[in-house]
Symmetry: C2
Subunit: 222 residues, 2 copies
Amino acid sequence: MKVLVIGAHGSVGKILVKKLQESQNHFPIAMVRKKDQLEAFKEQGVETVLADLEGSISDISQAAKDADAIAFTAGSGGSTGADKTMFVDLDGTVKAVEAAKDAGIDRFVIVSALGSQQWLEDPHPDWLDQLGPYYPAKFYADQWLKNSGLDYTIVRPGLLSDDEAEGKVKLAKTLVESGKITRSDVAQIIIDSLDNDDTRKKEFDVISGDTPIKEALKELEQ
Amino acid sequence: MKVLVIGAHGSVGKILVKKLQESQNHFPIAMVRKKDQLEAFKEQGVETVLADLEGSISDISQAAKDADAIAFTAGSGGSTGADKTMFVDLDGTVKAVEAAKDAGIDRFVIVSALGSQQWLEDPHPDWLDQLGPYYPAKFYADQWLKNSGLDYTIVRPGLLSDDEAEGKVKLAKTLVESGKITRSDVAQIIIDSLDNDDTRKKEFDVISGDTPIKEALKELEQ
C-alpha cells in the first residue's frame, strides 16, 4: 500500500515513514511543506511531495494522487498559537479529508488525542481544558472525518513519549484512565491498522499496556 | 414566540432584544454571561438568563428551557485572541445547537458571516484569509448547525455598521459581491426569518440593497 504520510516531518511522522520504508508491504510518500524537509527525505530514498495543509484542497489532492491511503500525523505543536490550532489541527485535517475524497482514496488513519471525543460531554475530564483549543480542534476534525464516508481509523494516543517502543498497549474505544505511549508504538499502530481491515470505521484511545498491538486491534469491538 | 437571544449583550443582540420586546408576537429572553449585563436587561423589563457559551451544554439547555426559538448573535469579537474564536464562535455555536436539541427547540437562527460558506472552496476570496481563524470558525459552526436536524436559518451579513436601519437589502444564497449592512437590519432579518417558515433550512448572504426585507426573504429560493 502506498501511504501518504501527512506531517511526515513531525515526531510521529518521521518514525512512521521509516517503518513504512522498512515494511514488506507498504511504501511511504512523505508530504512536507518545506523544501529543506523534502531534501532530507529524498536523501533517505523516500518519495516526497510538497504541499501545505494551510494551502488548498486541490494542492493536497494533487500530492495524494498516487497514494492508496493517508496517514495523518500532522499537528501544529505546542509552540504555535491558537490560530495554527484552527488552521492545522482542525482545518488541515478537514482539507486532507476532502483531498482524499477528491483523489479517490478511501483509507484514512489519523492520530488524534486521548479523551478528545469527550469534549462536548458534561462533565468532561478537567484536563481537557488544559490544552486550550487543541482538544476541540481534534474533536471537530475527527467529527468531520467520521461524517466523510471514508474508511477512517481514529487513533487517540495518551501522552506521547520518545521512549523505546514497547509493542504492548491498552486500547479501547474510550479508556477511563490516561497514560503514556511511545511515538514508535503509535506509528506501529497506524501500520497495523492499515493491515487490519476490521479497524475501518473504528476509533480508539490507546496507552502503554500489556497486549501486543496486533492482538489489541483484533480485540477491538465497537 | 419566546426567543432566547444568545449574545444578547452584543451589538446585534442588544438591538434584537429591543425589537423583540417591541414586537407584537415575540418575547425576548436575553442570555448573558455576566451579572452586570443581567441587571441592565432586567431594568429594561427584559426576561434574562445567565449562562456562558464556554460552560456546559446543560447550562445552556437549562437557560433555553422556556424558549420556542434561539437567535444566536454571539461572537468573540475582534479584540480577543484566536482561542476565543475557537471557544465562542465555533464551540459556543455547537454547544448552543446541542442545547437546543436537548431542550426540544427546533428553531435556530444564527448570524454568520458573508462569504464564510466559501471557506473550503478553491480558490476562495482572498479576504477570507484576512480575519484569521474567524471565517473557518463560522464555517464549521454553520456546518454543525446544518447537520443538526434543527430548522436553521443562517444569516450571513456583510460588513456590519451602526448606521440607521435601511429596511432594504440584497439577499441571495451566495452573493458575488460584499457590502455593508446595518446591525438594525440584521436584527430585523432575524425577526422576519422567525416569522417566515419558508426560511427554515435556508442560508443566505445579505447586504444593503433595494428590496424590502420581508420581500427579499420571500424571494429566497434554494
